[in-house]
Symmetry: C2
Subunit: 203 residues, 2 copies
DNA sequence: ATTATGAGACTAATACTATTAGTTTGTCAA
DNA sequence: TTGACAAACTAATAGTATTAGTCTCATAAT
């Protein structure tokens, strides 16, 4: 046939749209082709394989997520920035469930390419934590802890592993989780520097 | 042919063995049949479908995980129990990667059956937290936070999302994460009861 | 001892997935 | 006008799960 004006970008956009709609991190090539009005194998004129397509969507998702985090924490510092980051993180993960799932299902230890693409995910949180005056090593540790809490919370909630309680209680649990991180961080800083942090909540 | 003495239990055991070996949370029926010396469709004489098989393995994994946690924390209380639990949790997740992944990939909100099977996962941690004298609601919140940290940490590590540092540093990050939880918990208890907890680490 | 029944194996076939090979066609440029 | 490439197509392969229907062996009943 020839030109329908189809490009890799259009395919990726359609895949993203699909993922956003379904909340699933994947789309079958069949479904994707159907939506684009072509037959499945024709997709291979524009993409190498599903893995490559996944990478493209992954990159898009990362960019969105990072931009969202940057915007949410811009101009904020320390505890306020931490809270804003946590809120933005949670909001993105729930409003873009499929994209978040994709981000959290792609990389594995061996996949250097995915790892590299995901590196920007660290920037904002590292900047926020560095602002507390922590050593570089401590920042590395605490960004792990922070991101572990955020992802762990969303993941468990997503999996249905929180049981019993409704949305209101979940909100409170989230607040407690963030407070827990901040309390732990303040205590950690105090141990490291011997100084009680001025921004510590003292309720 | 007739009786080879094959049972559902043998199939599940073989699947578990496979999962333990590969670290993957799934086994294909083809591979499973090959290992058992039968043809794929013959499996359906003993199992309903892959979903059912998954449930069986899921149940086994949960039981192992729970027993492991109980053993590890038996006779321990408060911070010591929390640390022991965290250690056991991490050890199980890394030594039984496939089973842990399975546990963390099965349930979703709609799946009431899986949810119910997973409930025992709460018992040990709830018992430990209840011992701090928290209200029932607080226990519910804090078990979420605790399990979120534990799973978040393992998940991020498993995904390769921790970057930069080697195994030694990871160990330190884990210790910081657990300390962070305890500091946060102590602070939370202090807020709730007005009493500084006697077991609080004061390094 | 013979036979009948049923559990549990088998083969064959269907319906999804991704992917490759090879063919056709439409458009644009020489 | 024509030639060539891009990009569509059809056809086929291979790996998943699953169902239908067949065959056979071991055991239980006559």
């Amino acid at each position: 046939m020839g030109a329908k004006g189809l490009t890799k970008e259009i395919i990726v956009a359609e895949a993203v749209s699909c993922i956003e709609n379904t909340g699933q991190p994947t789309v079958s090539l069949h479904e994707l082709a159907r939506r684009l009005g072509i037959k499945t194998p024709s997709l291979y004129n524009h993409i190498k394989n599903t893995k490559e397509l996944q990478y493209e969507i992954f990159q898009y998702a990362i960019a969105q997520f990072v931009a969202n985090q940057r915007d949410a924490t811009e101009g904020k510092q320390k505890d306020e920035a931490v809270r804003a980051f946590a809120h933005a993180y949670y909001t993105f993960a729930t409003e873009h469930r499929g994209l978040y799932r994709l981000i959290m299902s792609i990389p594995s230890e061996e996949d250097e390419r995915a790892k590299e693409m995901a590196l920007p995910l660290l920037d904002t949180v590292v900047a926020i934590l560095a602002d507390y005056g922590l050593s570089e090593e401590s920042v590395a540790h605490w960004q792990r802890v922070f991101r572990a809490i955020l992802h762990g919370f969303i993941s468990q909630e997503d999996l249905g592993y929180f049981y019993y309680y409704d949305a209101v209680d979940l909100k409170k649990s989230r607040a407690i989780a963030v407070d827990c991180f901040l309390d732990g961080l303040h205590a950690g800083i105090q141990r490291e520097t011997g100084i009680k942090h001025e921004n510590q909540a003292d309720v």
